[in-house]
Amino acid sequence: MRLPFTANPHERQLIPDGRFTGPMPWVMAIMLFLSLLAAAAALALVHAASQGSESLSRQATVQILENDPGARLSQQQQVAARLRRQPGISDVNIVPESEARALLEPWLGDVAEDSDIPVPALIDLEFSATPEPTRLNALRKDAARIAPSVRIDSNAQWLKPWFDLVYSMLWVALAIVLLLLFATAATVALAVRGALNTHKGTIEIMHMMGGTDLQVARLFQRRVALDALFGGALGLALAVAVILLLGERIAALEPGLLSGASVPLYGWPLLLLIPVAVTALSMAMARWTVLSTLKKML
């Protein structure tokens, strides 16, 4: 098979329409723009999730709700000491009461400073791997012998719905990209069928002079490749502009769940792959459409 860009200039004249006359390149550009945005959003979310999840989900917080300040403090010390002896816990950190009050301040206001109002005693835990719920439960039962009111909340617990959401969105994005690729292929097939109809006379003449189906297919394939490349370049440029702009907005946000949401470096080659894949798919589709249509001619 000859490469589409090496078709000689006289062969190209046979199908004379200007390259960018039809709606094809614009439709391609829109499809690609949308595919790229969906893919970029998915990549950014997965990146944010994987960045945050590793350390976040290994953390847990112990709370001791005890009204008597003296008992609270001693229970906190004892529980911490006990947890330090447990395997698989890499860090046990007693949160000073002042810090715990500071944490509550945004919710309770000045009242939090009032030492008469009890605040839970907190211990930050860091596991060497994300702890299973059963393990946390066992730890809680063990600590409850010292502090009956103890609670252990792992970050993994409240992160789970967030991860579930991220991974559902990943599937949704993948589905969107696949649907757009499918729509692109259908667009190519329609456009090629239309062009075949327009140039039916020329194709018949080529056939009568001994032109092969592949010679005809090459002409259409070349045009579609150019359309797809043009549409791909335009869609890519627009998508990159939008991704960078949104990235800036996200970077300007307060630290939080979205703050890591930017397209990771490894994501850019993946994004670039989409226009390349679309061009290849379009050419294959054009070739297939031409050959299967010509098969019905003699």
């Binding site: 004379p16 006379g201 001994g210 010679q215």
Partner: protein
């Protein structure tokens, strides 16, 4: 002698109507010159379409260059078509290509390089008297000029068989004779020529040419063309 084309009880039917060609049997021999005559609507174009592989017969057997055509896979047809030159009744020039590019088309399809095809194409343009119109599009050419371009395109590849459907219908008698002489010259080089025409004056110009006549889709051979091997041609005047 091996025939160039051989029809055996061929029938052709468009759609579900009556047969346009019925029980057509003949043999074309290499190097001979045939006229196909008959009233308008007799089926001349239909028969030629079978000859230049634009149609498959509804029934019967066709052999071309010694091979069975009826069961030939599509993929092998282009190779056969490159051995046949066709002058279509309606010319069928590519409207957006110049006269030069139209004439060059069969050579380009056959993969002949630009360097090698410029000479023959210009020679052909000169011969049909259209050198000055080489870059003109068909729409700007007169009917006769278009016909000459169509003929040039048919013969440029030195086909083994030339099939021409009313090739002199749009030119004045002088040009008709010139074109006929071109066919005869090609014929002397070994090309089998089949010319469909209802112009009986033409028939007399080439002595030794054989004649086949179609009448309502049935073939008859007033000169015995279908039975006897070809005689050497003599060109009058």
């Amino acid at each position: 002698m091996q025939s160039v084309a051989e029809f055996d009880n061929v029938g052709l039917r468009y759609g579900t109507g009556a047969e346009t060609l019925t029980d057509v049997s003949f043999k074309l021999f290499p190097g001979s010159f045939y006229f196909l005559t008959g009233a308008s609507g007799a089926g001349k174009t239909s028969l030629l379409k079978l000859l230049y592989l634009a149609h498959r017969p509804s029934r019967g057997a066709i052999r071309m260059f010694g091979e069975d055509l009826v069961n030939m896979p599509r993929s092998r047809l282009p190779g056969f078509r490159r051995r046949i030159g066709v002058v279509f009744q309606d010319f069928r020039l590519v409207s957006h290509l110049s006269a030069f590019d139209n004439i060059a088309l069969p050579l380009r399809i056959a993969g002949i390089s630009e360097r090698d095809l410029a000479g023959p194409v210009n020679e052909m343009l000169d011969w049909i008297g259209l050198t000055e119109r080489a870059s003109a599009r068909p729409a700007t050419l007169s009917g006769g000029e278009q016909q000459r371009v169509a003929i040039a395109r048919a013969v440029i590849g030195r086909p083994e068989m030339l099939v021409a459907d009313e090739p002199t219908g749009n030119v004045d008698p002088d040009m008709a004779l010139r074109l006929l002489k071109l066919f005869a010259a090609l014929n002397r080089l070994g090309t089998t020529v089949v010319v469909a025409t209802h112009d009986i004056h033409l028939l007399q110009e080439i002595e030794g040419a054989q004649m086949m006549r179609l009448d309502k889709g049935k073939l008859s051979d007033p000169t015995g063309a279908l039975k006897h091997p070809p005689r050497p041609l003599v060109l009058r005047n």
